[in-house]
Symmetry: C2
Subunit: 172 residues, 2 copies
């Protein structure tokens, strides 16, 4: 679709307003039941790094900020500097852990894909889709849709420990 | 928090596994009732650009991919090349429009912040938080939490046309 036809769709601004220069889609927040299970999934299975944690003991919750940060990237150690740096990059995942949910029986949170629907999924893109999906199988990850299931052969959906859908696509 | 203590938290991988090199947290998908209203909000109010649309008329839905792309960035016009480029960048917002929802009465989707909870919000960071919030007021945007309401004075929450919460923070 050429750019002209994209900007002619109803509602679309022809150009981003000057006042929005420097705006960054920084993060997406999901509530999770068992933070250890989620940190394991997002760091070990999906390669995120835990960049920052914030604890609110009075309100009984903690926040965990994760991102795909290369080993070469220096994460600032000064708290204020790290917070600014973290706020300025796209692709951050914020996990909210309400203390004690991990001791509840069964699922605690709603994945958004049954009624009432809303949020659908997050997506991680990978250099080698076949290799990534084969590794997820080896690791015992739950699939919502395997790569070769259904009509769309170029994407898979796996599930995180809370059942949130994570789409897997290729960027090569 | 120094990096050592972050990687000592239960569940956290000490290093991202080599097999996850090149993984990118690419996008977050939200279902929207009225795509024209959402495109207006995300492009005009929040400065996203519409990068790609995909129509599935047989299944009666369309997908819209938006990102904060600077005017200097050349979005590839070749469809396959654009799709690869789009899959490789972080900070993409995917909006799903199920055709006809815009004619339903009242809200169609669930924002995740009342029962059943799950997804919480997306967040856009800005260079000048006071200026951004003043502009949102001028534009008649609905606030969930104004900058100076409550205890947290360094963040605001606005609502998109479906009622999804969008946190606004500063990256300066």
């Amino acid at each position: 679709m050429p750019p002209d036809s994209r900007t002619r769709l109803p509602g679309v601004a022809a150009q981003p307003p000057a006042e929005t220069t420097g705006f960054v889609f920084n993060h997406t927040m999901l509530r999770v039941k068992d933070i250890a299970a989620s940190l394991d999934f997002y760091t070990r299975v999906l390669g995120f790094r835990l960049v920052e944690t914030r604890d609110f003991p009075d309100a009984a919750f903690s926040l965990y900020f994760l991102a795909h940060v290369s080993a070469a990237t220096q994460i600032p150690e000064d708290p204020a500097e790290r917070q600014r740096w973290l706020a300025g990059i796209p692709g951050v995942l914020e996990l909210t852990h309400n203390h004690g949910t991990e001791r509840q029986q069964g699922p605690v949170y709603h994945d958004g894909n049954s009624e009432p629907r809303g949020f659908g999924h997050i997506c991680v893109s990978v250099p080698d889709l076949e290799a990534a999906c084969a590794r997820f199988e080896e690791l015992g990850v739950t699939f919502q849709k395997r790569l070769h299931d259904g009509r769309m052969k170029n994407l898979a959906f796996i599930k995180d420990p809370d059942g949130y859908w994570v789409e897997i696509i290729s960027h090569r």
